[in-house]
């Protein structure tokens, strides 16, 4: 509720991550600004909101000496309201209306481009909520010069533009209006009196959606869903009811579970890891996955399958160890309130949705939480499940070796080493957003940032893949070097996926950097470790690689450095 968000404003934000947000609107945005800062508190964000005076979007952006550029925000939120759009449309001559969306889009594109060339801030753009002015009734959809036709076209073209321009993130407030209805979204009497187009009741939802994007930009994303089985994935109890009697398929309540499984499967296909945590005996728990004709999820969709009679909190800790990702990137879905509470009490970081009692309501409730926000997607994300499964095969294989060296040697590891290019840009950006533990300076990059780095003359970029006899992990490590002066290369960032820990990858990476440095007459490598709550793992990273700590930085003299042993070869 807005009132609670407002109360948050009086609380202490000083320990939270600080970010500068500019909010540019063509309507009154004071309450929206308060809501965004207020909800930031709940996510431990200290968002410093700066608003332009009312209706100054174009001036602030096009005038390069404006307060906007002086403020130098990390993120710019732009909100052109549909009401103002309609006013503009009404002033457009009948003949011009057919070009209305095209013209509006080209105005927007010129704003976006001005921003892109003058400021590194990311842009969050609110799309247009639908207003049907009823001039043509239902037939509006078939009239190119109707307002709703042009508005929808504009939304669609905006999406297309943002596909190609990776510093723009569309905040889909149109779906919020679809969910809650225009009557709740918009209160005419308030609009007439204040120029506010968002009702007080809808503000928290808009603010939440906005902060969801900000969190994703900061690398706070969900990576894994842990599923209960009985009465969560299917109706009934497999141990009691048996394979024939559990509810799944097209009949009755089974339909709800089938649709739920399709949704989970779609998450898996887009790269969310699935794990099972069930109180069952393992053999019985697996039978539906293997033998039930109506099951949508199969065993090869699940990365970690845990079915036993232990406490679920302990089982989830076990799953976390295998996957090596933070608890705060996990979602636990269980129909049983008792189990949910145990997990919540023991692992407070994990997200445990209070799913409704009626399975028919699971999906709409979960849609509304918007848990799986992301700011990047790579076609390879669907491979992730397979990679985790291979990892557990590899772990088993390692048990045949008493000596780590001979294990590493037997893996026959090869790596593709490349600069950033148009094929790997999406994955590089994504890895920068996903890596929390093995990340030396935790700078996050959008695809746009990565593209700029790839063109920069003062930087040298590296990306590394890792493949072995079991399979290909894909691109798993990135190093960005900044040429500080003729002799010094500063390691602006070094991050790696935790999937490939303990393979001597860091030695191979360092050797590659050293080769480059030697060939280009650099003498010193300089690195920095910036601690976060999650990257303790790499605190001694540079020390272990032979760097020496000198006045706040780790440095390595390239000439005297002796190359490290590695079992990885260049592919």
């Amino acid at each position: 509720m807005f009132k609670q968000l407002k109360k948050n404003l009086k609380k202490d934000f000083s320990k939270f991550q600080h970010q500068k947000i500019a909010l540019l609107g063509d309507s009154s945005t004071q309450f929206l600004a308060q809501s965004i800062r207020g909800i930031g508190y709940e996510f431990e964000l200290n968002l410093d909101l700066w608003e332009t005076g009312f209706n100054q979007i174009e001036r602030q952006i096009l005038d390069l000496s404006s307060e906007l550029y002086e403020y130098n925000p990390d993120i710019i939120i732009i909100y052109h309201s549909s009401h103002k759009l309609l006013q503009k449309f009404n002033k457009t001559s009948i003949e011009e209306r057919i070009f209305f969306a095209d013209k509006e889009l080209s105005n927007l594109v010129s704003l976006f481009q001005t921003l892109k060339s003058n400021i590194s801030a990311k842009i969050i753009y609110y799309n247009f909520t639908e207003i049907n002015d009823g001039i043509f009734g239902n037939f509006s959809s078939q009239i190119e010069t109707s307002f709703i036709y042009q508005l929808r076209k504009l939304n669609f073209e905006l999406s297309n533009h943002s596909i190609r321009n990776k510093n723009i993130f569309i905040c889909d407030i149109s779906t919020i209006q679809n969910k809650y209805g225009k009557d709740l979204f918009f209160q005419p009497s308030i609009y007439i009196n204040t120029e506010m187009v968002l009702s007080i009741e809808i503000l928290p939802h808009i603010a939440k959606y906005t902060v969801d994007i900000i969190n994703a930009l900061n690398g706070k994303i969900k990576k894994c869903v842990i599923l209960d089985l009985d009465n969560t994935l299917w109706g009934g109890v497999i141990g009691d009811d048996g394979l024939e009697n559990i509810e799944i398929g097209s009949l009755g309540i089974g339909k709800a579970f089938t649709e739920f499984q399709y949704w989970i499967k779609s998450l898996k296909n887009r790269g969310i890891i699935l794990a099972v945590c069930s109180k069952n005996s393992e053999l019985i728990a697996k039978t539906p996955f293997e033998n039930h004709p109506d099951m949508i999820l199969r065993l090869d969709d699940i990365s970690v399958f845990v079915a036993n009679w232990n406490n679920k909190a302990d089982n989830i800790r076990h799953i976390q160890k295998i996957l090596n990702i933070g608890f705060d990137s996990m979602v636990f879905l269980d129909d049983n309130p008792f189990e949910r509470n145990i997990v919540r009490e023991n692992i407070p970081e994990i997200c445990v949705p209070e799913i409704p009692e009626d399975p028919a309501e699971y999906l709409d409730y979960l849609y509304s939480l918007n848990l799986f926000e992301t700011v990047s997607f790579s076609e390879l994300d669907g491979e992730r499940t397979k990679q985790y499964q291979i990892e557990s095969i590899r772990a088993e294989y390692q048990q045949n070796f008493t000596n780590e060296e001979s294990f590493l040697e037997s893996l026959k590891m090869v790596s593709v080493v490349e600069e950033f290019n148009k094929f790997n840009i999406p994955r590089v950006a994504q890895l920068s957003q996903r890596s929390n533990q093995y990340n030396l300076r935790t700078l996050r990059y959008t695809e746009n940032d990565v593209e700029n780095l790839s063109k920069s003359k003062s930087h040298k970029t590296f990306s590394f893949t890792l493949e072995d006899k079991f399979g290909d992990n894909g691109l798993i490590c990135v190093v960005i070097l900044a040429k500080e002066d003729k002799e010094t290369l500063f390691i602006e960032n070094w991050f790696m996926s935790c999937r490939v820990l303990k393979r001597n990858m860091e030695n191979f990476v360092l050797n590659s950097i050293i080769d480059y440095a030697l060939n280009n007459n650099f003498r010193v490598l300089k690195g920095e470790y910036i601690p976060t709550s999650k990257n303790e793992m790499v605190k001694l990273h540079y020390q272990n690689l032979g760097f020496i700590f000198v006045s706040n930085y780790w440095t390595l003299d390239i000439k005297t450095h002796i190359k490290k042993q590695t079992y990885i070869t260049v592919k």
């Binding site: 009132k3 309450f31 009497s189 204040t194 007080i200 009741e201």
Partner: protein, 78 residues
């Protein structure tokens, strides 16, 4: 509900919305008498009153009251 009871209810809404236990309204109270009651929080108060007392104000009414008493009269006329 008579005017006095209504005043009590509205007083509670003001305390809740403005987060200030010390607010004590009477019929003659105006915005300048209450800290934090400005044109912006006025909107919040109006929406809260509408919701709690289940009335709906017209656009004109929202800006027409000179004091709390006039607001109450407006509610009672509905």
């Amino acid at each position: 509900m008579n005017k006095d009871e209504l005043l009590k209810n509205v007083n509670e809404i003001f305390i809740d919305v403005l987060d200030d236990e010390t607010i004590l309204l009477d019929y003659s109270t105006t915005a300048s008498d209450v800290e934090d009651w400005d044109s912006l929080t006025h909107i919040q108060l109006v929406v809260a009153v509408e919701k709690k007392i289940k009335v709906k104000f017209t656009s004109k009414e929202i800006q027409s009251w000179n004091n709390v008493g006039e607001m109450l009269d407006c509610i009672l006329s509905k």
